[in-house]
Amino acid sequence: MNQYDDLSEYLLRLGDSAVVQGQRLCEWCGRAPALEEEMALMNVGLDLFGQARNWLEFTAERLDDGRSADQLAFCRDERAYRNLLLVEQPNGDFAVTMLKQFFYDAWHYHVLTALKASSDKRVATIAAKALKEVTYHLRRSSDWVQRLGDGTEESHDRMVKALDVVWRFTVELMAGDEVENRLAAAGVIAAPELIAEQWLATVSQVLEQATLTVPPAAPSFYLSGREGMHTECLGVLLAEMQSLQRAYPDAVW
């Protein structure tokens, strides 16, 4: 169920997806296959946390219910989170991690490109800043998808398996809902169908270069991140991420 006005709901979706994707990337800290990769994964995570802060600060101002951006991130339960199901999925191996990242980056890139022209000035400002960073993210993840897909026999096999695991969660990237349709009609965001079309074009191009087959459109799913109906992995991720704030409420650095 949607609790807030359309724009605040949408801002939570953007902010929450960035927080959760960033948190998943942090799980690679100390475990990445190479030092350079570790730095890259953490850098991307850092960019996403910064973007999340910008979105959630704006949300907090709009909601004006006494909660700060930090409290929105650290004191909301799973059902109140509005992130994409894709980003909450476990990291799996490096193939799954990079494929998830690529699907998210391609979506993020097109979403932000459109938001740069938003009728809401604050949204346009935050998006313009984030887009510069996400362009680098997309360039890197497309590069990895190509290298792994069109790499060794093992890397190719792993990418095929990763595609099998991850693809079903792309259904949310391909569809909007009433909130998004209304915001699109008001010129605040792009029409969901337009993002879907652009996303599929980018993804098809990269997967083909990676010698991977683009699966048919994923069937709709009974869960919906937009409405706070998540897969079971989100609760575990939040429990770890929020443990300090839960144990020591209002603790500051």
Binding site: M39, N43, V44, L46, L48, N54, T135, R139, S142
Partner: protein, 187 residues
């Protein structure tokens, strides 16, 4: 201490509180002096470039009797942003500015195009290759053309990683002198 509500401050008193130690408020010379103080505040992560040459100080002005400094973050999640603001505040306070006010502004988004020529030269001399080309002309999948090695000047270099030790840098290696080096990414 007297009890009850304090009377509102008159504009003249606010002006006085806001003025610096010399008792002057908001003269053009003060603004100029503030800029020169800022030119001595170095980026903590790349300590050879000051915040003015880095292009993150967007404006210095007087507002309600206080010196106001507008800064813009380099990256949305740059962890040095708050630290830089503290350094700026300290430097201005030490220079005699009373309670300077720091404000963050995202728009327009920072670009490496704002790094000054002096800043670029300092980066290169320090061993960090400065950004090449204009951020406006970067396309999504195009990689930067020729990145010159800051040690030997050779353009025979290769990228090791798009992401380096801080958000703003990428990692490169020189194929002639074999030195690895940081490249300040163009964004």
């Amino acid at each position: 201490m007297p009890s009850g509500e304090l009377p509102p401050l008159s504009a003249a008193v606010i002006e006085l509180i806001g003025s610096d130690r010399q008792g002057r408020a908001g003269s053009p010379e003060d603004i100029e002096r503030a800029w020169s103080v800022l030119a001595d505040v170095m980026d903590p992560e790349v300590p050879v470039i000051n915040v003015v040459d880095l292009g993150i100080v967007r404006d210095v002005r007087w507002s309600a009797g206080h010196l106001q400094v507008i800064v813009t973050p380099t990256y949305s999640g740059c962890p040095a942003t708050e630290f830089i603001e503290t350094l700026i505040e300290e430097a201005l306070t030490t220079a005699g500015f009373h309670q300077p006010v720091l404000k963050q502004q995202l728009d327009p988004a920072w670009t490496t195009d704002w790094i000054t020529a002096a800043g670029r030269e300092n980066l290169r001399a320090y061993g960090v290759a400065p950004p090449v080309g204009s951020a406006n002309k970067l396309s999504l999948l195009a990689t930067a053309s020729e990145i010159a090695c800051p040690q030997c000047g050779s353009v025979h270099t290769e990228r090791v990683s798009e992401f380096g030790s801080t958000a703003c840098k990428a990692l490169y290696r020189c194929l002639d002198c074999l030195e690895p080096f940081d490249y300040f990414k163009c964004i």
